[in-house]
Amino acid sequence: MTAAVEPKDNYLTAGFSLKSWLTTTDHKRIGVLYLLSITFFFLVGGLAAVLFRLELLTPPGDLVSADSYNKLFTLHGIVMVFLFLIPSVPAAFGNFLVPLMIGAKDLAFPKLNLASWYVFVLGGLFALWALLTGGVDTGWTFYTPYSSTYSNTYVSLMAIGIFIAGFSSIFTGLNFIVTIHKMRAPGLTWFRLPLFIWAHYATSLIIVLGTPVLAVAILLVGVERLFGIGIFNPAIGGDPLLFQHLFWFYSHPAVYIMILPSMGVVSEIVACFSRKRIFGYKFVAIASLAIAVYGFLVWGHHMFVSSQSVYAGLIFSFLSFFVAVPSAVKVFNWTATLYKGSIAFDTPMLYAFGFIGLFTIGGLTGLFLATLGLDVHVHDTYFVIAHFHYIMVGGAIMGYLGALHFWWPKMTGRMYTEGWSKFSALIIFIGFNLTFFPQFILGYLGMPRRYHAYSPEFQVYNVLSTAGASILGAGYVIPIIYLLWSLFRGKPAGPNPWGAKGLEWEKTSSPPPVHNFAEIPTVTEEAYNYSGTNEQG
């Protein structure tokens, strides 16, 4: 490896003015813009979580009123789901990496890409406006008829914000699909693609097929509130449950929008730090598509107790078990990749380990919830909260942080401090489990979600959870500090600090030049060819 010097001409030095950033069509800069914006929203959503975790420290509702509590968890849910998790890995790292990984100069539609960021910011500002003028209390799920008829809060404004933000996600998904189809470097066949690309392709399919349905569901709520045209209004024979069907047709697959990109990240990290090709590469690749397809067939498992017919419930339950198969294929194949690998415990790998363990717990408890009889018992309790936080925080955010630590040297050209980063990975893992594991018990014992006061016998678990949240919070703040520090004082990373395979590591500098590659690379080998054999593949 050559001595680590930073190239003088790279995408970061191509212009320093604010205008050069706000009018850029460089996918790498847009990725950075997204990274900054979603970090902001993550902090907003996190702040709400701090407040309601403090409220839940004691059984009576003494810190905030019931109304404020409703607004806080709604704020947390909406901001975290729509403005952080959905864009997180795809919009920040996908934007940055998809062209680099497939050997292209940019995405297929660079201007559309910039537009997607502006649309995202616009949608986010509408959402913030709704929050600052008084908030929304419907929960992130906007269930009718509460959201359409009864809630006196700023639902319409928020609905407009989410509707707009949906377009940014569609633009990104569309761009990825076309780019992956049409812009792969010579020799880069589908089964030579990094699994990160497969995951993003599957994610983009879900985005493109699902988001419009959420848009129309939200639009109908807005139309009902603004014009009194009430398609879900029971007073004129409408069915509020139809909203839940439309909503979950998007919002269940949306869980896979959040988790699939992180699965792609984990595949990259596990291969790199065990110095092996991913075991059963094709199965992992196809599993991403299988998750995308099955993901569209299970939405009814959110509605087992919502007067859905028993037969529909049976089918949705069965299909929900089916989704576990491709997910398990991935987990087993990552584990098998570790076998006889030369494993290095660098920070990204710690996050990948965290992902695999926590996602497994989140996934298996998902099967509990997909079981009709058991779901009746734990439905709308903290068991559900714990389950999906194991997927979304333990899974998706672990993957996000893994990506941040793995590709930070590529994005900035600098290394962060090893000790601090490992320390924070560790306390995030501890803090996370302390926050959410007690919630499984709470839910099983029957504590319902979305209440600001609770019976005293639940207090000990809530104290544990709040204590864990404070550790988790610290774990999220430390990386912000050492990553910023690394920008100024970090050691130059060199093109490939991890000795990783992949075009973004082997064929370009860190940070990459504006047009990514000095010349478009030609690919002659399989992905993850760490053993150096199989040249012709």
Binding site: A104, L174, N175, P186, T211, V216, F227, I229, I236
Partner: protein
């Protein structure tokens, strides 16, 4: 694959890429309207007779004329695409203009229909009034009617806007239509909007004819 990096520059590659983008976009549109068609299907299977009854309040003649207008506009759009591909500027401009004109005729007829419904107090909401048997579900029918034809009309307006910009660029010679897929992509979109109407027309206007 043996092509070099140059393939990313060449014209047919650019054309294919743009058109793939349009197709993916149309896929999102199918799902967008799909949600509404699903809702329609649910309620119509729940209240089949009431939907037929309500349907009789729509003007089948105007609906039929509008269908003919829109189908003709798709024809002129197809001619526009063909002219663009052959690089014939004048015919292209004429066909774009005709398409825009037919689109405007469609919207004009649509707005007269809306006006009739307003006069008859059939617009859902506070001022809805209907003297027949089942006020509630009739209002539901009209909710779907206005939301779905309204969104269709918004798509038409957007399409007319794009066509107008294209026509302006071609007229001022700022755009060589044979060198890119702009006209062809717009054409795909226009045909899609037309196809949506092909479904809307029978589902709203014709279901009451049988009885």
């Amino acid at each position: 694959m043996t092509e070099t990096s140059a393939h990313q520059e060449d014209m047919s590659w650019q054309r294919e890429t743009s058109l793939l983008g349009v197709w993916v976009f149309l896929l999102t549109e199918v799902l967008f309207f799909g949600g509404l068609f699903t809702g329609y299907a649910v309620y119509r299977s729940g209240y089949p007779d009431i939907f037929s009854e309500a349907s009789r309040h729509l003007n089948v003649l105007l609906g039929t004329v509008n269908t003919a207008v829109l189908l003709t506009s798709s024809l002129t759009m197809a001619f526009a695409v063909a002219s663009a591909q052959e690089g014939k500027r004048r015919p292209l401009l004429i066909y774009l203009f005709l398409t825009i004109a037919l689109g405007l005729v469609f919207l004009g007829i649509k707005s007269t229909e809306y006006h009739h419904k307003f006069v008859e107090k059939l617009i859902p909401g506070a001022h809805f009034s209907y003297s027949g048997l089942s006020t509630r579900e009739v209002q539901l029918f009209f909710s779907f009617y206005f939301v779905m034809t309204g969104l269709h009309a918004l798509h038409m307006i957007a399409g007319i806007g794009v066509l107008a910009v294209l026509a302006f660029l071609v007229w001022r010679k700022k755009l060589d239509p044979s060198r890119n897929a702009l006209v062809e992509g717009t054409g795909l979109y226009w045909h899609f909007v037309d196809v949506v109407w092909i479904f809307l027309f029978p589902l709203f206007y014709l279901i009451g004819l049988r009885a």
